[in-house]
């Protein structure tokens, strides 16, 4: 029953979408002065229908209705209720339905929130957004319908991938999607603003809120994914430069650049082209990410669907939107470039422009690293794999000037500043930072590319932002984010350089010496749980300061049969002790990996600080 309701509501939403495209283009042509009430009602109907459809899928998951193919493929009666619900968007079909839900709801909110603006602009945004919505509706209905019936009805489902049974991962996709889909509104509205010739201060003020909110969700979404990878995958790191991770990072670079550019547009009425191009690029990268992940063109742990027709659909749809955007950009660009005000070298806007170029550089590195293997394979059939060293070596040196501009830039004035007044205070902090990092590197014998300037500028940004935090100013949100970023850079530097790892094959009772620590494999228990069997090991790690017990697990799930390693992590504010073990063969030996990772908690905390700055910026009263 829920199946039929879900399916038919999607068709009604499709009809509403066709009607909206027709009606909004009609209203634009007739230059109507008021918003047609039909448009508002059609949009309400559409949002409601998608909402109903999404909830009927969740309902089917809760009652384990295996006549629904999606439920059959991804659920099981013994799953805890929480994971039954999260299972509804943990799969390809359900996640697209969630995309669609957020798309329609965001458009609805946009329409309510933009009452003060030009009617033509609002109608055009509705038109562009509906073009995206109709694409998704067709995609869902014809290539990935979540409401397909199964007959005869199976008695039991195929289960949800146990790796995905994790609270961080259950909420990671929806949060990330809010970020991705938020960029669709930015895309539609920037095209609309371009057509209306209103890429200006007023528009910037209005769209800034959407940019900030998408940026917050994207940041937190990436953070949650990273936390999940650290705790669940048991690889002992927080970022692996896996193609699917990169795909979420690319729109983040773009959106971060956009966030800074829109402030310049709001304050100074310049950088119109930057704003529009970044808006288009951010959304294209979000959609492109969906394409790369969902088409199975990448090989990665996240790859679910391997249906080429889906890939072709998203690809054509994406490029249709991109081409549309390019055409609109070239036709209407002139209209928006009336007032070109002069900008000076030493000014805040120049610092932001430099920041943008750096962001574009980081973006290109990640983009090339992710996409180049695909290109190469198509062009001459050779397979290459690009690993973390590529990204680290290319990004690390460029972080040095980036950090410098980030530290100095916010202290410059708008329009024109005097370079000669670079104060004594800053210079002292700079020298101090370099000395500290030099001593640090010498003392610990760090052997890493550009270690001294990297640490030095990390500290410099840290000191400057700490100093500025105390000074009273209206840009508290910016300061918190930048402070968070300096903390982030320092924590990953410490973490990456001072991490220690130890691997060995051990059996129960074995003891190993590592650095000045003793690792003892004390015992091993087997515990039967509701939907899995668990091997729980007990290790003792001791040194002259004290000892800690760590109990990593290996879980054997029955539906489907999968082994997962659950690392045990002892976190303190100074460092993490990470221990994970794996079954080798039946001879009593286990592969044990112990890692000591300094400042791990600070990485998460600093990203939370960065987003907190964004949240503060969102609620800040406009001056």
């Amino acid at each position: 029953m829920a199946n039929q309701i879900g399916n038919y509501s999607l068709y009604i939403a499709l009809i509403a979408s066709i009607f909206l495209i027709f009606q909004s283009s009609n209203s634009i042509r007739s230059k109507s002065k008021n918003l047609d009430s039909k448009i508002f009602s059609a949009l309400s109907v559409q949002s409601l229908m998608v909402f109903i459809s999404f909830f009927s899928l969740i309902y089917a998951f809760i009652i384990s209705d295996f006549s629904n193919e999606t439920v059959y493929n991804n659920s099981h009666t013994t799953k805890p209720l929480f994971y039954k619900i999260s299972g509804s968007w943990g799969n390809h079909e359900g996640s697209l339905l969630l995309w669609l839900l957020v798309l329609t709801i965001f458009l609805f909110i946009f329409l309510i929130n933009s009452k003060k603006l030009l009617i033509k602009y609002r109608l055009l945004t509705v038109l562009f957004q509906e073009l995206i919505i109709i694409g998704f509706l067709l995609f869902i209905l014809f290539t990935s319908n979540p409401f397909l019936n199964l007959f005869p009805i199976p008695k039991e489902g195929m289960g949800l991938n146990p790796i995905l049974q994790d609270p961080a991962l259950a909420i990671h996709p929806p949060i990330l999607y809010l970020g991705y889909v938020g960029t669709s509104i930015i895309f539609s509205s920037s095209l609309a603003a371009l057509v209306c010739g209103m890429v200006n201060k007023i528009w910037a003020k209005h769209i800034k809120k959407w940019i900030i909110i998408s940026w917050i969700f994207l940041t937190i979404g990436i953070l949650l994914g990273s936390i999940w990878a650290y705790y669940e995958l048991g690889w002992g790191g927080f970022w692996f430069w896996d193609p699917v991770e990169n795909v979420s990072l690319m729109p983040w670079f773009c959106l971060t650049a956009l966030l800074h550019t829109i402030i310049v547009l709001e304050k100074r009425n310049i950088y119109q082209s930057w704003t529009i191009i970044l808006s288009i690029a951010t959304f294209s990268l979000s959609m492109g990410g969906t394409f790369l992940v969902r088409s199975g063109i990448l090989n990665s742990i996240h790859t679910f669907a391997n249906d080429p027709s889906r890939g072709i659909f998203i690809l054509c749809f994406l490029f249709a939107l991109v081409l549309l955007a390019i055409f609109i950009f070239f036709i209407y660009q002139k209209k928006n470039l009336k007032n070109i005000s002069k900008s000076f070298l030493a000014s805040k806007e120049t610092a932001i422009l430099i920041n943008n170029w750096f962001m574009m550089f980081f973006l290109s590195v990640v983009l090339i690293g992710t996409v180049y293997p695909i290109f190469l394979e198509v062009i001459n059939g050779s397979k290459i794999s690009i690993g973390p060293p590529f990204y680290q070596k290319l990004i690390a040196p460029f972080l040095i000037p980036f950090l410098l501009f980030m530290a100095v830039g916010p202290n410059l004035k708008w329009i024109k500043d005097n370079l000669s007044k670079i104060n004594f205070n800053q210079l002292i902090l700079f020298v101090l930072s370099i000395i500290i990092s030099y001593l640090l590197v010498k003392l610990y014998g760090v052997n890493y590319l550009f270690a001294v300037p990297l640490f030095g500028l990390g500290f410099f940004l840290f000191f400057l932002t700490v100093r500025d935090l105390s000074s009273k100013d209206s840009t508290l949100s910016q300061k918190i984010s930048h402070f968070g970023f300096s903390l982030f850079i320092l924590s990953i530097l410490f973490n990456g350089i001072f991490a220690k790892e130890f691997t060995s094959n051990m059996k129960v009772g074995d003891e190993r010496e590592f650095m000045n620590k003793t690792i003892k494999f004390e015992n091993l228990k087997i515990i039967e749980k509701n939907n899995y069997k668990s091997l729980v090991a007990n290790f003792n790690v001791s040194d002259n300061k004290g000892s800690i017990n760590l109990s990593p697990e290996v879980r054997i799930y029955n539906q489907p049969k999968t082994l997962t390693s659950e690392a045990d992590i002892n976190s303190t504010i100074y460092s993490d002790n990470f221990l994970v073990f794996n079954v080798i063969k039946d001879d009593g030996y286990y592969n044990v990996r112990y890692q000591h990772k300094p400042l791990m908690l600070w990485i998460w905390f600093s990203i939370i600080l960065i987003s907190a700055g964004g949240i503060l910026g969102y609620f800040k009263k406009d001056d």
């Binding site: 063109i297 490029f319 390019i326 695909i374 290109f375």
Partner: protein
């Protein structure tokens, strides 16, 4: 004029990327796990489906030049899709098709073979799924192409067989024979 050139370059560049991606979609993108061992586990012993007699897998891999080992179950939907390919492989007469019935009820399995046809020269049962794990299976359906002479796995196919994989099997057999 300069603007037009810019425009054309951007359009051409987007189209270029589009076609690369389109080509990229055509490549087989099923993830193949690293071969842990290229030899098939000949010492694996299991009960036969019909007479419940214990038999070694190695004994079954001998009549022909090649064997197909196919892991399936009556409750598995993709197995139904690939069944016709197995029947066709049987018809070539140069391949021994051996089935491993994964976590299934005997009655359901027998009925499945009665309804859809039986491509297997022999079916072994794997009621608790452990035999398949010993073979290195990742999920069902899964199919191995084995060279009977040296008992080596030539290729693993994860997921249901389809036209492309079917043709590839025939091609491999033809090439190896020569």
């Amino acid at each position: 004029m300069i603007k037009n050139i810019k425009f054309i370059i951007i359009i051409l560049f987007s189209l270029f990327i589009f076609f690369i991606f389109l080509k990229g979609l055509e490549k087989p993108n099923n993830y193949l796990p690293e071969k842990t061992s290229s030899k098939i586990e000949t010492n694996l012993s299991a009960k036969k489906l019909y007479d419940q007699k214990e038999v070694l897998l190695g004994e079954l891999i001998n009549n022909n030049n090649f064997s197909i080992i196919n892991i399936w179950a009556s409750w598995c939907l993709p197995c139904r899709d690939e069944h016709v390919y197995l029947l066709n492989l049987k018809k070539t007469n140069s391949i021994n098709v051996i089935g491993i019935n994964y976590k299934d009820k005997k009655s359901n399995a027998v009925e499945f073979l009665k309804d859809f046809g039986n491509p297997y020269s022999e079916v072994l049962t794997d009621p608790d799924g452990t035999k398949s794990i010993e073979l290195g299976a990742f999920g069902i359906p899964e199919t191995y192409l084995v060279n009977n002479k040296n008992k080596e796995i030539i290729k693993k196919y994860i997921g249901p067989l389809n036209d492309v994989k079917f043709k590839e099997i025939l091609k491999i057999i033809k090439n190896e024979k020569n």
